[in-house]
Amino acid sequence: MTADEQIDLLLLDDERLVRLTIGAWLKGTRFRVTALGSPQEAMDLVRRRKFQVIVTDVMMAGVDGFMFRDFVRAVDKDVPVIFLTSLVNDSDNTFMLKVMSDCNSYYVPKDAPREYLIGKLEQVVRAYRAETGISRMKAGQDRSMHLARLVQRSLLPGWAHVAKRYFYGSMWRPCSEVSGDLFQWMPITEDSCLFVFGDISGHGVAAALAMTAMQAYLQRTRALTDAEARDVRTIARNIDRFLTANLKDVAYMAGTVVYFNAAERKIRYLNAGGLDLRCFRRSDGSVFPLNPENRGCPPFGLLQDAVYRGSDVVEAVIPEDSLVISVSDGIMDLTSDEAGEQRAPAELIDEVTCELARDRANSGCVYPYRLLAVLESLGYDKPQDDLQFVAFGPIAARPLSAVWEVAMNPVAIDEAAQKVGEFIRARRPGLDVLAVKAELLVGEHLMNVHDHALDDYQRRHERAILRVAFAGDCLELSAWDRGRAWGGSAGYSARPEERFAEQNASLASHGRGEAIVREISARLARQRMLDLNRNVFYIPIAEDKTGGVS
């Protein structure tokens, strides 16, 4: 837009004198005037055409200037409106208050000379254009930030993984669109893996870019042998060198390099300035001390030629049924007030983490979500920093339950359903009917999630976690997914004719699977924690006609 460009101005005043005068004043200027005497005509026109400034009288028969402004705002919330009025001289300041109630409204007294009106119009249009320009720039920035978030997300490992002997669950939550928190998982053998957790210094886009560079570097170093992965000092040194060589004086990273072997239950890690790992016994939530000597070292990339000594490395054999947790320091900045001053007490966080650790009804994979969900429910729902929680541990052998990770595609879903059936038949021979019901339920539910709760990207990348457990007289099937929030109907009627109609209605919104799932499960519990859905189905283990139980 240049200073010479024409500006479309709408003038509304029921007095012809005013229209004539202002029209004459603005003739030869860059204001292209459309003058109307009827508010109704003006409203019709505003619906069809965009103006860059509107000048209106206040007191008109029928629709006054403020009512007209309300109408305009419903169509265009930003166009400047100038009230041309003599009311400003009145002792009653109601007029002024009404004008000022809208941040893009102004007034010009009727006795103001031509130059004043033109000057005010120019001023108002400049402000409008500056604001519009800023809005466009912000919209562009928002798009860029959204893209940056997608790039970061694409470099992260899946939110959860269930291997043969170990699992992990993670939650990566930027404070704004992008994050300086890093999480990398590298499978080494069937039983072992390497984790890298990090918190890049600084905030915003700079920290996010450094995180992305670090994450990309780590991805390039994936092919490690088990011996190499155990050498956390060398890995730490390589991370440090990458940072000092590429991001010197720009960023450093507080973080932890962790080697974990589930078969040995061994953990070797080097903590470089981050919050230390914590280990909990799931039997009672008690803390297993990993690092009683408080070993550690300064953050990566902080010192030139940093030296990592053997005495910096923590090595421990953790209990069989345990959960190891890594949290970024953003957890210390969870607050309950907008000003960010009321932080969650450290004792409260400790208490919650202990309590949740011993809750075996939930898979350890979802621990990060549960932790944040509980803290938010206690009022600490205003994070001041990026958040990252990771929980991992050995899979404890439990005869009556099993956990699987399921890729969200039809083939993997079918395989998962079969695994559930095989598990049931293996643990309880003869429960074929129950096995079939469970297979059907799992297949239908997960396909429902696939069809209705996920977008295309998620169908390619997302994982669900599936848990089956014999619980008394029921088979308990739990499924966690990160699809959109969706729920079914509360339940179906007992009356057959109503039930059929309800099922058809459910079919339209939730697919065929919903109806089948509800027919099979006696009870259904749904929960949403942050962006994680949890569905729990209970299938009765009852006697069948052949004399067995199903």
């Binding site: 004198l17 004539l20 004459a24 009311l87 007294p109 009727k110 031509r114």
Partner: protein
């Protein structure tokens, strides 16, 4: 045309006599039309209507530079808000006179 009005219109429209004449003629026509509405409104003691007409007279007078008529219109507005018939009668009569004096 009163000197004050002419001066104001010349400041706004320069030497465009045709435009000045046009605008002034519209002002006079509008003022006479409003006075024709004012008389029955006052007679009926319809103070809301009297106030509205006075407001319009004031606004037009301010636009044309007729400060005197604008002041009387303001006074009439105050009287009508107070439902003061005696004061209003005075101001209505004054306005009638001022409008008659317009060419």
């Amino acid at each position: 045309m009163k000197e004050g009005i002419r001066r104001w219109l010349t400041e706004q429209f320069g030497s465009d006599e045709a435009l000045i004449a046009d605008v002034y003629a519209e002002y006079v026509s509008s003022a006479r039309g409003k006075m024709a509405e004012l008389a029955p409104a006052f007679a009926a003691r319809d103070w809301a209507q009297v106030d509205r007409i006075a407001h319009t007279l004031k606004g037009n007078a301010l636009m044309i530079g007729d400060a005197t008529l604008a002041e009387v219109a303001v006074a009439l507005r105050a009287a009508s808000k107070a439902a003061d018939a005696t004061a209003a009668e005075t101001f209505v009569a004054r306005l009638e006179g001022l409008v008659r004096e317009l060419d």
